[in-house]
């Protein structure tokens, strides 16, 4: 183990690693509950307005959505690989993988925003606003689209935060501030990214496939 000092209040580096990872898992649990409420809203909405929700899904941009899913899944593997590289002290490779993850995440966001633009052009706006809803009057439809914008929007905010974290972590790895002795710093960011991916994997069927 390269001799990177652990924080003084911890009795050992291993203890600090344990603590930090436990803290991260607890934080992820809280994020799950945040999105859990949104899934509950979707479930209730779908139960009350089944045909309207099916109608909404039918109009969703399946290709873009599936492409985005693929992008995120690949990005989760690149970030996992970057952890492995750093574990073996292959700093350069680790940074490359991190930057790849950032690029993929950025591509996700770009596709997402282009999708929003398409929706806006078609007259679909959150809150049942937009000319689309004047001609498509089923009440549950407005709810579907508002939930769609809310859920994917909140997710996109998390993706953006993830990109910032990945970018700054890549910088710190490249500068040698994070090494295999403090792998947990990178592991935590990777965990966060995996969670974002996981949440998308549930959003995708609900809003695009079902």
């Amino acid at each position: 183990m390269s001799g990177q000092a652990h924080a003084s209040h911890f009795e050992s580096g291993a203890r600090q690693a344990d603590a930090t990872l436990l803290g991260m898992w607890l934080f992820l649990a809280s994020e799950l509950l945040l999105f859990g409420g949104l899934f509950a809203l979707y479930a209730a909405g779908r139960f009350e307005n089944p045909s309207a929700f099916r109608q909404g899904v039918a109009l969703a941009a399946k290709t873009v959505g599936s492409l985005n899913t693929g992008i995120l899944l690949v990005s989760s593997s690149t970030v996992a690989v970057s952890v492995e590289f750093l574990r073996r002290d292959q700093r350069h490779a680790s940074v490359i993988c991190l930057l790849t993850t950032v690029l993929l995440g950025a591509a996700f966001l770009a596709l997402k925003f282009s999708e929003y633009a398409e929706h806006f052009k078609a007259g679909i706006r959150p809150g049942g606003a937009g000319p689309f809803f004047a001609t498509h009057a089923t009440p549950g439809l407005a709810l579907f689209w508002t939930l769609y914008f809310f859920s994917t929007g909140l997710h996109a905010v998390h993706v953006s935060i993830g990109l910032l974290l990945l970018g700054s972590t890549a910088w710190r790895v490249s500068q040698g501030a994070i090494t295999s002795a403090r792998l947990y710093s990178l592991q935590n960011v990777a965990l966060y990214w995996h969670l974002i991916d996981l949440i998308w994997v549930f959003l995708w069927p609900l809003y695009y496939l079902a």
Binding site: G128, A134, A137, P139
Partner: protein, 343 residues
Amino acid sequence: MLEIFRTIFGLPPGASSFADGVDLLHLFVITITLLGVFVITLFTLVFVIRFRKRPEDDSTPRVRANGKREALMTFGTLALFLLWWVLGYRQFLVMRRRSEPADTVYVTAKQWMWKFSHSQGQIENDVLTLPVNRPVELIMISRDVIHSLYVPAMRVKQDVLPGRYVTFWFKPVRTGKYPIYCAEYCGIEHSNMIGQVRVLTDEEYRNWLNDAARARPLASVGREAAVKHACLSCHTVDGQKHLGPTWSGLYGSDVTLANGDHVLANAAYLTESMMDPASRIVAGYSPIMPTYLGSLDPAETAAIVEYIRSLQDAPLHPTVPLPEPQALPVANSPARSDMDVRP
């Protein structure tokens, strides 16, 4: 005894058939509560005195909890709480599920008043006139935000929601005037949204009905509304099957839906059919009925339901010619009128 209890604890008179049962349960609960608090306080006081520190004390014995006694106290307390739950739940179910036939009153709550539409046609603002000893069912909806109809003397309360009809019932057993409060914060005039239930004797009630007889029966208001909104271009009133189910004999009948389910054609179902027709289509009919959410206000809706009810036992006249098939009404845009209140 119940009256003494009510006086001491500040309860209003018991004016509904629920009140005695509810207050008896209340008495049971509060008596045990006060007893329990008294006993615990007593034990505490006794222990504090009996086991106060003596100068020679330098340590205390390690007292081990008797598992059996712990379990007994725990499960004993749980049994008590569950007994209260059972008693309360049974009363709650009675309050929810009306078992006697009742008069119907349609209630519209809006910021900041109550509107009561009786089935005989009388419309009252903030006052609800009822005959004593006759159950009444209130079918309620809000025009804007959530309100809550609360009549303390009757021990009843029900939140009134926008966009959905809720029902509750009670039977007044005492004549008198009893306040109605709104019990869900609804804006600046929330505390002024006060009404009154006026319970009259049979004779007084009949007199009141006659006085108010100049109001047209709700059913004929409903018939006019049905004509105005072109309902009769799809629904007949003489038993003939047309584009939609006939209204003759419909109210209270068992209806088979397109998916095989059965539903009772009561006020709730008929109202839902006007507001969300696509949700429960009758077997043998196409889903072509448009929604009237936003174009029929609650009073008109209630009136149409009353009209359909008045046709419960309508005789069939198969020789009455069908109206000319007309162009169907255009699909209505989502409510932007009555239901949608913007500041």
